[in-house]
Symmetry: C3
C-alpha cells in the first residue's frame, strides 16, 4: 500500500491517476469475494463503521453497509430522520461525538458541499464522502470507472458521454475527474442551462445536441432527472427534456453495438431512459450496482487500515 496514504476519500479531484488506479485494482481483488460461497473476509474485523446519512439514501447506505459487513466490520446506521444527534447540535459537535464513540470510519452523506471535507480535517476517523451536495460522489465515480474498465480493459481514448443535469450533479463531477485523469474523452450533453459552456475548463467537451454523440460514444451515462430537486428556472419541462435528451428506442438503435449504457439509478423509465436502453444488451446498469460493492470494499479497506492479505 505504498501508493495509498490517505485516511479519507473526499473527492476524486484530489486523487492522482496512480491513486485512482490503485483503488480500481483493489476493487478488482474484492470483486471475487462477492462471488464466493462465503462472502466475507476478516479485513476490518473489530473496526466500527458509522453510516451517517444526514441526507437520506437507501441505495447508497445499503451498498456501504453490505461492503462493511463483508469486510467483517461492525456497522451502525444513523439516518437524518432518526438523528436526535442533530437536535440543537452543529455538524462538528455531532461528528466529535461519533469520534468519541471510537468510530474508525464515518461514511457521510450530506446535502452541503464540503461537509465531508470539513469533518476530515477535524477527526482522526476516516471520512468517506458518500455524496456532499452538488460537489462529489467519489465512490459512484469509481464504480462507473470500474465498470467501463472491466468491459473495455482500458479507459484511455474511450469516448464517454454524460447526459443530463450536469450542473447540479455530484455523480457527473466525480465521473469527469476520474475519466479525464485516466485518459477518457468526456462529452457532457444537456440543455445549456444545465450544461453551461464553462465545464470545458475541466477538459471536457460540451454539447447541447444528443445527436452529436449517439454514433460515436463508447459509453453513454444517463443521469437521473431529479424532479423533486429541479430548479424550475433551469429545467425545460419534462416532455421537452425527453424529446431533446431522452435515450429513446430510436436513439438506442443508433448507438454503436458495443456502446455501454450506464445509469446511477434509480431510473425514471420513460424519462431519461426507455426500457429498450435500460434492459437491452448494451446496458451495464445492474453490473454497476454489483461493482459498487467491490469499489466500496476497496475504499473502506484502503482508508480504514484494513490488514492482511485479501483472503
Amino acid at each position: 500500500m505504498s501508493i495509498w496514504n490517505r485516511k479519507d476519500l473526499i473527492a476524486l479531484a484530489d486523487l492522482s491517476a496512480e491513486e485512482l488506479l490503485f483503488l480500481l485494482e483493489t476493487a478488482k481483488a474484492f470483486k471475487g469475494v462477492g462471488e464466493r460461497e462465503i462472502k466475507k473476509v476478516p479485513a476490518l474485523r473489530g473496526k466500527t463503521l458509522i453510516n451517517f446519512f444526514v441526507e437520506p439514501s437507501t441505495r447508497t447506505r445499503i451498498s456501504f453497509e453490505l461492503s462493511a459487513l463483508r469486510l467483517s466490520a461492525d456497522v451502525i446506521n444513523i439516518s437524518a430522520t432518526t438523528s436526535s444527534l442533530q437536535k440543537g447540535e452543529t455538524l462538528k459537535d455531532t461528528a466529535l461525538n461519533l469520534e468519541a464513540l471510537l468510530a474508525d470510519i464515518i461514511v457521510l452523506r450530506h446535502s452541503s458541499a464540503g461537509a465531508a471535507h470539513f469533518l476530515s480535517e477535524r477527526l482522526h476517523a476516516s471520512i468517506i464522502n458518500a455524496g456532499d451536495g452538488a460537489h462529489e460522489h467519489p465512490t459512484q465515480g469509481l464504480l462507473d470507472g470500474f465498470t467501463i474498465l472491466e468491459k473495455y480493459g482500458r479507459l484511455q481514448g474511450l469516448e464517454v458521454a454524460i447526459v443530463g443535469d450536469i450542473l447540479f450533479s455530484r455523480v457527473a463531477r466525480s465521473n469527469i475527474y476520474l475519466l479525464t485523469k485516466l485518459g477518457a474523452k468526456v462529452t457532457l450533453v444537456g440543455p445549456s442551462t444545465l450544461v453551461p459552456q464553462k465545464f470545458e475548463t475541466l477538459g471536457v467537451r460540451v454539447t447541447h445536441h444528443i445527436d452529436d454523440i449517439l454514433e460515436t460514444a463508447d459509453v453513454i451515462n444517463l443521469l437521473r432527472i431529479q424532479h423533486e430537486r429541479q430548479h424550475k428556472e433551469y429545467f425545460p419541462g419534462l416532455g421537452e427534456y425527453v424529446t431533446l435528451f431522452g435515450l429513446t428506442k430510436e436513439r438506442v438503435a443508433r448507438l454503436k453495438p458495443k456502446c455501454l449504457i450506464m445509469h446511477p439509478g434509480p431510473m425514471n423509465r420513460g424519462v431519461e431512459i426507455d426500457s429498450e436502453g435500460a434492459d437491452g444488451a448494451r446496458s451495464v446498469i445492474l453490473e454497476q450496482v454489483t461493482n459498487g460493492l467491490a469499489v466500496r470494499m476497496a475504499v473502506l479497506y484502503a482508508c480504514g487500515g484494513g490488514k492482511g492479505i485479501l483472503t
Copy 2:
C-alpha cells in the same frame, strides 16, 4: 435434503404434505438452538439476507432478523418508510437492484397479493414471502402448525377452528392449506360477510355461530381484528363482533380443558379475545412467537442453501 428442492417459499398452497412435514421437522431441530447458552449456528455464515418490508411489520421483521442472525447470516433491513429505492422505481427494478447487491435471500412483506411470486420468477435469490396482501403468510401458517404439532404430537384428525376476518386474512389462508393437507379438520367462524360459504371449496367447514365449535375444538385460533383495514361494508361493528364472536370469559369456560388458544398477535384484548383466554392455561400465544424463530430458521436454512449439519 432430498425432499426440499425449492429456492423460494411463496405459498403453503404450493407445498406437498411431505414438504410441509420436512420444514416442520427441520424447525424442530432448530428449536433447540434458541435454548442454548450460545444461540448461534454457522449455517448461513457469509450469506446476505435482505429484509424488504414494503408494508411495515416490526414483529415479523424482528423474527426474521433474529432467525437470520442465529444462522450467522448478514442482515440488511429496508423498510417502506426509508426506501428511496421505491422512488420512481418499479418493484421489479428495485428487486433487480437487490439481486445485483448479491443478496442470497430476500424476505418480502408487501401489500399486494402475488408480489413475492412475481419476484421469485425474476430473481436468482431465494424469495421468502413474509405476507403478501390477503394471499398468504406461509411462515405464520408453519409456526401455527408447528405449535399444534408440538402440543398434540399430530395434526391428523384434530378439530381446528379459525375465528374472525377470514376473507381478508393471509394468516387464515396459510393455516387452511397447511392444516387440511396434514389431515386436520378446519372450521372457519365469523359473520357471513367475512366468512363466505365459498370457502368450503377449500375443504373446510364454515359456520357463522361460534357456539358450533366451542365444545368440540381442539384448537381455536383467533385472528386479529384489524380496525384500520376493515372494509366498512363487511364489518358488523365492534360491539356486535365482540358479542357474537369474541372469546369472552364465558366462552373460554366452555372450551375443552386441553383446547389450545392461539393468536398471531398483536392481540386486541377485549375485542377478539379476553384476558382469561389470552393468559390462561390453554393459551399458547407466546409459544407461537418462540416457535416462529425455529420455523423461520428452518425456512431460511432450507431455501437459502444452508450447509452442514445443524451444529
Copy 3:
C-alpha cells in the same frame, strides 16, 4: 462476580456503594477494549440484545448498540416510530413478546418513570434502564461517575455541582445517588422552580445562585435545557436562564483550574454552556461519550451473564 447478583439495572438508588464500585471497576477493564486494534471480545457471543426505544434517542441507542457489538452480542433495534408492536398492545404484552423471542437483554428507553422496573418484575430477560421518564438514567450516572473517578482517582470528598433543570432530570437523579453513595458532596444549582428545597432530603445542598459554587466546585455538570419539554410554568425564559445560570466565558474564568466541566449532551451552545467551557482544557464532555461505551459494556456484561475472562 460475587458482589453482583442482579439480572437488571434499573436505578442507581437501589445499588450499594460496593455494587457501584464493582461496575466502575469492570468498566475500567472494558475501557481498554475500545483502544485496541480489534475492538471486540467474545463475552456475549450468541446472546441477543434488543434495544427497545419507545422514546427516541439516537445517542444512547448507538452507545448501547456499539457496546453490545463489541461484546459480540447480536443486536436488534426497535424504535417508537417503527414499532407496530405497540399498536393496540400494552407494554406488558409487547415485553412478553420480546421475551418469547428469547432476548437475553432488553435495553428500554421509555417516557414513563417505572417502565423498566415494571418489565424487570415480569420478564426473565435482563432489563437495562436507558432512561425512564424523569426517574433515572443509571448508565449516564455511572459514566459521569467513571469520568470523575478517572480524572481525580477518587470521588470521596469532591465538590460536585449539578446545574439546570433538576426537577425533571433523570440524569441528575442518577448522578445524585451515585455521587452521594460514593462520598462526593453534591450541590444542585438552578431556579427555585426547577430545584426545589426538598431535594436536600437526598443528602445534597441546594442553591439558586451559581456564584455559590463557581470557585469551589471540583466538577460542574451542566444539564441540557430541553426547550421542547419545558413546562412553561417552571421555566424563567431562556434569556433569563442564561443570565442567571449559563456557564458563560466569564464564569468559566472563575472556575478552579482543575475543575471538570461535564455535560450529558447534546449541548445547546450559548444556552447552558458557552464554547469557552465546552471546548476548553477543563472540558471532559467528549471523554464522557467514550466512557459511556466502557460503562455500558460493563453493565451488559454484569447483567447479561457474560462469561469468561475479559480477553
